[in-house]
Amino acid sequence: MTKVTVTLANRQGQTFEVDPRKTLLASLSEQGVDLPYGCKYGGCITCAARLMSGSVNQSAQVALNNRQINDGYIILCVARPLSDCCLEIGVDSHGKLYRNPFLDPLADHELKADIAAPMKENT
């Protein structure tokens, strides 16, 4: 099985070789990276990280709304890498994850996938 390389941008660019069949949380934790987590099934957002480059399959996640996805967030406890990836991890990557919902409402297409309106055509 070919491994892919994960680079941690906010951990001095450390790199790790990981098995793409495993979740990123499992692979990185096994190799000693200290990562936050809670539910471990993709529902609670605690393990969110930011994907700077590369791509992942995180179809099992239900925690992120579409705005957070567009901002590059991924859910490490369910995400599996589809290519080499560069990540920002931990709470120091969560700057755009949390917003005051009254001051900064979501547009209809920015809600979670199950209730989001389809994206409008380019304006």
Partner: protein
Amino acid sequence: MAKACCGPGYASPAEAMQAPREKLLYTIAIYTGTGIQKPDYLCTIDADPESPTYSQVISRLEMPGIGDELHHMGWNACSSCHDDENMERKYLIVPGVRSTNLHIVDCGTDPRNPTLFKVIEGSEIKATTNLSAPHTVHCLGSEIIISMLGDAQGNAPGGYLHLDKEFNIIGRWENSMGEIKFGYDFWYQPRHNVMVSSEWAAPNTFMPGFDLEEVGHLKYGRELHFWDFEKKEPRQTMYLGEDGLIPLEVRFHHNPDSSHGFVGAALSANIIHWWKDTAGEWQWEKIVDVDNEPHPDWPIPIPGVISVILLSMDDRFLYLCNWLHGDIRQYDISDPHKPVLTGQVWMGGLLGKAPEVNGVKVTGGPQMIQLSLDGKRLFVTTSLFSTWDNQFYPEIRTNGGCMLMVNCDTENGGMEIDPDFVVDFGKEPNGPSRCHETRYPGGDCTSDIWI
């Protein structure tokens, strides 16, 4: 009934009010969501004004893993076992909402240094009952039931986990969830054969944070459920609508003969009162409506967000917290249809009315409260839920939570923040943590139920 023969708790609420003053507090503190990679923990706080360590954390019990998000907790036994001399109020059941782990903490052997007695793993609970996200713990005579807000995948409505007194999983407590859409808190009043349960949201909805738009998409609760307690199934649902958006803490009168109870609707910032009328039908009405408050930076006025309510042991006073406004209120509910506002203090909040209290800059707002059995001391903490804290009070990451004590006038009504008591969780040894629910070793105003 001779006291010497008896089990835990008190023969009646009136007897509970005569108990000795609390000397210790158990309070949850969390690191989940803070960026500090340490377990959540249970603090023991010295509440004895005669002690040199008064108003300090005197011991900390770390959970075995990180990421639990400890939240609420409950005793293995309460006054509902008062007649059972084989029972003892010895263990706190401390659930992790995110992990589903249940931590059984021995507080009886050395009350100043609780120890971990047993862990029921979240994976076992999910595998055997298809439930997750534990919330409220109540004991039922010698058994324990816990509201679980989701199924094993975090979808609503979840159900109720049933444990025996040795903390073995019996299975699901309820025979049916009926048409219930969501779970959260519950309280039962056995002499009326009733349990009332309220509604937050599915774990997958509330755990990642609060998207206001999801309220409109009916992802948050607005109903109250009246159960046939013996049959363990819902009997009647009250649709509270816009008056009852996100009904959270449920409190029956402590008087076991009373049918009156109350729930705080967090987002509507209302108190809903229910009772059984002379025809035996359950009725409800809105008795408190906290007005939204304008804020210069907000496009819409800020809702109070009533995150908790609590009744004094004599059922005379109702306390509530407006987590976003920052005030704690005391209402005289001697006539439960006509509450009278008798006290109000400010602690944190977004309205900026309490920037500093007892030398601590309060971050967050008044959130969880616990009242002494005699009704004179109210302990208040500031953190609601890690992700929601991060949205509304992001500075809590660096400042941590805090606990204050409010002195309550039980004769004339009125409240005052105690100038000599403050626990600053911003100064914890491992870094700023956030404090949540509090309980006392001898039982408190939100744990005990009389059969």
